[in-house]
Amino acid sequence: MEKLMLLGDEAVAKAGMDAGMSGIYAYPGTPSTEIMEYVQNSERASAEGIFCQWSANEKTAMEAALGMSYTGKRAMVCMKHVGLNVAADPFMNSAITGVNGGFLVIVADDPSMHSSQNEQDSRYYGKFAMVPVLEPSNQQESYDMVFYGFELSEKYRIPVMVRLTTRLSHSRSSVKPEASREQKKILLPSDPRQFVLLPAIARNRYKYLLSVQTDLERESEISSSFNKLLDGKDKSVGFIACGLAYNYLMEIMNDHEMDNPVLKISQYPLPSEKIEIITANCNKVVVIEEGYPLVEEMLRGFPVVNEKIEGRLDGTLPRDGELNPDHVAKALGIAVNEGPPVPPVVKNRPPSFCAGCGHIDMFNALIQAMERYGPGRVFSDIGCYTLGALPPYDAINSCVDMGASVTMAKGAADAGLHPSVCVIGDSTFTHSGMTGLLDAVNDISPITVLIGDNCTTGMTGGQESSATGRLEDICIGLGVVPDHIKLINPLKKHHGENVDTIIKELEYKGVSVIIARRECIQVTMRRKKQEKTYGNNRNQPSRKI
């Protein structure tokens, strides 16, 4: 079959379709977004009826995917690492219920926080839930592991996690696809109570999960291509390299004609026999892993001082951040021949709002309205508008997790801070802000909620937002007094009236919501371009099924 040039994300998506998945669920989040987008943009998804719509958040996505698995069909759920925190409840419990149709949880981690608020390592979640984790080292493995993962999931009837990292998600290379499989037919679980986690049933389910652990380790031991032990003559040092880190190691070893034993890890639970062989045969072992030192900690045991093991914990490799071939070279004692230094004339170029972005006008109005109260009163959230923290705005004081702006403003208001304001995007609001608003309404916490409604999920590239056109109705439904739901148009020409509206609501001692609504400029430009190419007749390629 013809080779394709695919991003790691796209390889996973293509493999899902080829492996006969019936549905994919996700909430956009860098670096995982392109998985769903690839399926949505494929003609096959609509032709073959593969469900591929965005969910309100990662928790609803995970639960819907579990529901699809319940019917016996193959399902995939995708998210970024912090999305798994949101979906942690169904994830942990799906390990106990087990699955029916193959169930893959694709999580893309973001070491070095290119586009995230932390760099947590999802492999810990896999270990926590006691489910297999597959960690591809390249685009072809990303593809192959989806096929293998579905089979593994169905063999043991448990979820399987595939862990990607930014560099693989967003790096392109050739992938050789396999022949497509048919989707599965509906076949409900043979045990009607499998998914009923009443304590008496859950205890049995948990015992089952424990009972397959030895088998799962055996699978890791025998899956020779994913976890492979390569012997080498120089036993003074051996290397254990996980996922993508294996590539950096190979880069350096090939360039310097090194011949040391290497254990490549791409499947967990860890293959203990292979680990025993390499640790017994080498004088010391350097553990190279992208993310937290999970394997290294396990190998060190307690106390952590173990002269035989080197890695991120003893400074052989950096403790934080994404790895690269230069880190690995240094860990191997190889000099790096760096090019000329960056001259001082080069200035940082941080991301900024697009020219013409509605958030600019929203922040300008908010800044002026807040002048009389002084700084430190604006909680914010995850999205493009987080850039409001940077100069020249310096307009927000928090960004913690999806939806936290509403609830942190509430807590501060409960403590007596008035006015207490939050700035949240429309998609973030429907993801996790609505429940916090309900809390504020129930407790009559005096907060001003400013929803930057750009009618899309902007930061990740303009995906549909769950409740476009229905935000007012949602706020009314949650109990916000209609008189204190205000709509403003964030444009320069409305600046004065927008400032007045905000000031009035800041003074109100109850819950008020101001919706600053103007379509994302990127979406507007894209729409206009498309209209120019295809006309207004809507005869354009549809992304929906």
């Binding site: 290379s173 790096v336 940082n348």
Partner: protein, 193 residues
């Protein structure tokens, strides 16, 4: 044969189209290719780069090690200097002169050009001007790709074919303009070698 290329620019300048053309040409030439891209937050007017690796043998790392790039190809002058630590001893820096001044402390362009001129191997192209001259101001990225072709170990014909293939989706006229841009960039740098 191994060619490591850092393609640099500012989010929105079309560096991924450059990478796609080179990548397509590499594959058509039967070479291995890995190309890492920047998506997400930094795309919003921030500094962006793509690491493109081409080889006749299998490529391990998606990232280029420091000091290994044979070419830094930049569509913005200040951005070209940001990746100097990756440039190899005999590597070439090929850059556009038109600055993107979306930061308040953007340095004097002359200072940047002076820094670039101090490098042993450099090609400076006013790609925006050349693109305007051929009547396609939006094709400056293809002018830059053209200017870099002498330093990419792939037949020029293959690169032309790739450009044609990539842009023909948008119509023959657009494909022709981009091919013109490519040729104009190539002759501009070839005349200086």
């Amino acid at each position: 044969m191994k060619t490591d290329i850092v393609i640099a620019g500012v989010g929105g300048q079309g560096i991924l189209s450059i990478a796609a053309c080179i990548g397509m040409a590499a594959i058509e030439s039967g070479l291995h290719m890995k190309q890492s891209e920047v998506h997400g937050m930094s795309q919003r007017g921030g500094a962006v780069q793509s690491n493109l690796r081409i080889s006749d043998r299998e490529i391990a790392s998606d990232l280029i090690p420091l000091g290994k790039a044979k070419l830094v190809l930049s569509v913005e002058p200040m951005e070209s200097l940001r990746y100097l630590p990756w440039l190899s001893e005999n590597g070439w820096l090929v850059t556009n002169t038109t600055p993107v001044k979306n930061i308040t402390n953007y340095p004097d362009t002359e200072e940047i050009i002076t820094e670039i001129r101090s490098l042993k191997n450099h090609i400076i192209v006013d790609a925006d001007k050349l693109a305007r001259e051929i009547g396609s101001p939006r094709s400056s990225n293809m002018v830059m790709l053209g200017a870099a072709t002498p330093f990419i170990n792939i037949g020029y014909d293959e690169i032309e074919k790739a450009v044609k293939r990539l842009f023909s989706k948008k119509g023959d006229n657009i494909a022709d303009l981009n091919l013109k841009a490519l040729r104009s960039g190539r002759s501009s740098s070839s005349s200086r070698l």
